[in-house]
């Protein structure tokens, strides 16, 4: 039962995000990076399958700059066996599609039964890579997965996915791509021997050239979307409580405010 987990490194949820003065991008100096929390559910699920079936390899595939090695090591410390790091400036500046394409190109040559992605990354919240990856690999996928049950013969998987107002149960043939949603599991805390062992585990560096993709199909050149402008959300102003003697008076005041100040009606 070989699993691949696609992992993205993202700024910590509490990190201070500032926008570059020219509005072209965000500043990531002095920011603490973590494994995208949804990807972490994927790592945990892959480790659980390994524990259940034994004789399995869990491989981390990560696209991102050099700093990502720290997050890769964290996943290896949790128990993943090895990793592939797509680290090349030529891959920078892309979008979800170039990422998915590059990951697909890398994964094509690997042995796997199941691929886990997070349902989305918490930095750009695009929620595209997992699904696009499945399309590029031409295998089925299920997203927002909160329960995974692989059959004993390792031929198919039954998943519960979150939908509005309930859960949907799907059966997919393997191999397939699953994107993990919160609630799938509780990721483990790496043990100290795990951390020490992770330092010695194999992390294979992969360059853009190794992927045999046209320069026009990777990085900024291959991106289907382009960031026009980055800006911080306007600071939230304090809420206003509409005072009045009677409900009617309050309603009248509210209507006036909505029309004249908020220009909503």
């Amino acid at each position: 039962m070989n699993s691949i987990v696609c992992l993205k490194q993202v700024p910590d949820t509490e990190a201070q995000i500032r926008v570059k003065p020219d509005g072209s991008d965000v500043l990531l100096q002095d920011v603490k990076f973590i494994i995208n929390p949804y990807d972490e559910y994927g790592v945990e699920e892959a480790l659980k399958l390994k524990e259940k079936f034994g004789q399995s390899t869990v491989t981390i595939v990560c696209l991102g700059p050099e700093r990502c090695i720290e997050s890769i090591r964290t996943a290896l410390a949790m128990g993943a066996d090895k990793a592939v790091h797509l680290d090349d400036p030529a891959l920078d500046g892309g979008d979800a599609f170039t990422t998915a394409r590059a990951l697909a190109e890398q994964i094509k040559g690997m042995e796997y039964d199941i691929i886990f992605c997070g349902k989305q990354a918490i930095d750009d919240d695009a929620a595209q890579v997992g699904v696009a990856l499945a399309e590029y690999l031409n295998i089925p996928h299920a997203n927002l997965v909160i329960k995974v049950e692989v059959s004993a013969d390792k031929k198919k998987v039954t998943v519960n996915r979150q939908i509005v107002g309930g859960e949907e149960v799907l059966e997919l043939p393997l191999p397939c791509v699953l994107t993990a949603q919160k609630g799938l599991n509780e990721p483990r805390y790496a043990s100290l021997p795990g951390i020490m062992k992770a330092k010695k585990k194999e992390v294979k560096p992969v360059k853009a050239a190794d992927l045999k993709l046209d320069a026009a199909r990777i990085g900024a050149a291959g991106a289907k979307s382009k960031v026009l402008k980055c800006y911080s959300p306007p600071p939230r102003t304090a809420a206003q409580i509409v005072a009045g003697e009677s409900p009617e008076e309050k309603a009248a005041k509210l209507a006036k405010l909505l029309r004249e100040e908020a220009k909503a009606i």
């Binding site: 509490e14 990190a15 201070q16 603490k32 509780e186 043990s191 100290l192 951390i195 020490m196």
Partner: protein, 646 residues
Amino acid sequence: MLTTLDPLWVLIALTIFTVGMYRRYRLWMRGQKEERIEGIGQRLMDFFVYAIGHRRILKELYPGLMHLFIFCACAIPILVIAAVQVTFSTPHLFGNFFSLFLDSVGSLGLLGLCLAAYRRYILKPDRLSDTRAEDAIALVWVFAIILLGFCVEGLRLSITGETGVWAPAGYVFSALFSGARPETQVGIHKVLWRIHLFLVIGLIACTPYTKFLHVITSAINICLRKYGPPGVLRQIKDFETAETFGVSRLDELTRTQLFHLDACTRCGRCQDNCPAHLTEKPLSPKKLIQDLKAHMDEKGRVPGENGQQTEKALIGDVIEHDTIWSCTMCLNCHSQCPVFITTVDKTIEMRRNLVLMESNFPVEVQAVFKNMENNSNPWGIGRHLRGDWAKELGVKTATEGASADILLYAGCAGAFDDRYKKVSTAVVKILQKAGINFTILGAEEGCCGDSARRIGNEYLYDSLVQYNLGIFRQYGVKKILTICPHCYNALKNEYPQYGTTFEVVHHTEFFLELIKQGKISLNGSGAKMNVCYHDSCFLGRYNELYDQPRKLLTSIRGVSLVEMDRTLDRSFCCGAGGGRMWMEEHLGKRINEARTEQALEKKPDAIATACPYCLTMFEDGLKSKNVYDTVKAMDIAEYILNAMKE
């Protein structure tokens, strides 16, 4: 009166004794090697003060005197007999007075034994609930030896017709036999004397196998105690090379730690003061030690015929997980143990094993670890916001290039906890009024790591320390003023394991000094107020700062102190130490509510603390007792600032 066979009996007894002691020795030596013990002079001194002198034993009057009486009745006659062997004559120096003295010692010994029996079998305090048959046998045994001693003396008086003035107890006993004919008396004398002798020889022989062992082990244990600040945890230095961390097997404890197990006499003073035990948690320090001892005994036994010895796991089977997580590391058991047995050193090693090796800890702790890793505070608030508490206060940060004599270390609570930010603000205002030149680290400050360390995550603690040391070095920090006692203890007593030399002071120490120097003066409204001060464990037992906070409070006009029953070195923990601040309290009664009740018993107008955890725990306790609006809990810094304003 000795027969030719007697030396043989003594020899047999000594052989049994030696074999027994050797068996115990082999059990202790299964532990890990340690550094050599230094300071023989001081240790000898400890032997006289704490073993012979009963200093800690006498902290509790009834059991203390009871033990002293029994101790004297056993030790002094043995010394006399030893002296007689050397000088070949009874000491004539004090003659009759000596006889009177020995009589008194023996009588007090009988009294002590009666007191002990009365206490154990009639009063039945909770801490003696694990009474065993050997306890009764031991009492009767020693009682019989002393009683027979008196009978023999009485008979001697009766036979020789000596006056009983110098041996009043013996004289009383002589009355028992005065009716008998002289020849009969001589016969009885001979028989009783021999029984007396055999009881003594027997006692020697069975010492290593019974509770009498404590006579040897407890005394030695006193001499083996650790010096320096109490409760400092062992540093792990070999993260890179070690294969296991913490303790999951008995033989991973050190030899001294195993020796501790044999030094425990089950007196139970520890559990009488343990906040976990007193609120119905599964932890009792005495039970912890005794369970470990039983495990050691079991492992020491030769496997039976079938060779199948069921191998119990130390963690889980012998010591339950909940027991390990219940400890608040308040150090009360350490302070109360008459013979310096420690438990926190064992609990922390088991926690380390669970955390570092097994990643097995209360679920809510994982977020705390991650928060400390990513944002250097247990709440996980963005670390770039760490300096925001002081933004409006006009405090210079070291980052801005300000240099000062003193670094004010806000700590996570002082920087992030809304309630405690008021305290750190008060501290700043007091320092500013006193004209002290100080800086803060602002967003560059990191968590001190105390909670991570005491939960057992030494690896995380180490990384937090490394970061802080880098910052301290960068700004050439020489003196640190802390607000939180946990930061205080970590920086002052535990960071030196990394070779630090900076000076660390707590705000209560520092403010008292400012008052003495006349840099701040307290007026106060003069309104009469009864304030109940709660000792933080990490200020009190860990650092012996008992007087400073009290003196500060009583410097305020109108303030008088009311003390709780459990105060000073017997102070009851608020429940948040040892990382318990970050764990749910599922078992038993809530510790903070128990402590709040103890304070409210004294009907105080207000409560004073000097620790962010204690303050949180008290405020929660006051809320749950529905007195939050009438009884205020404040940090001492807030009292001081209020008294400076008026």
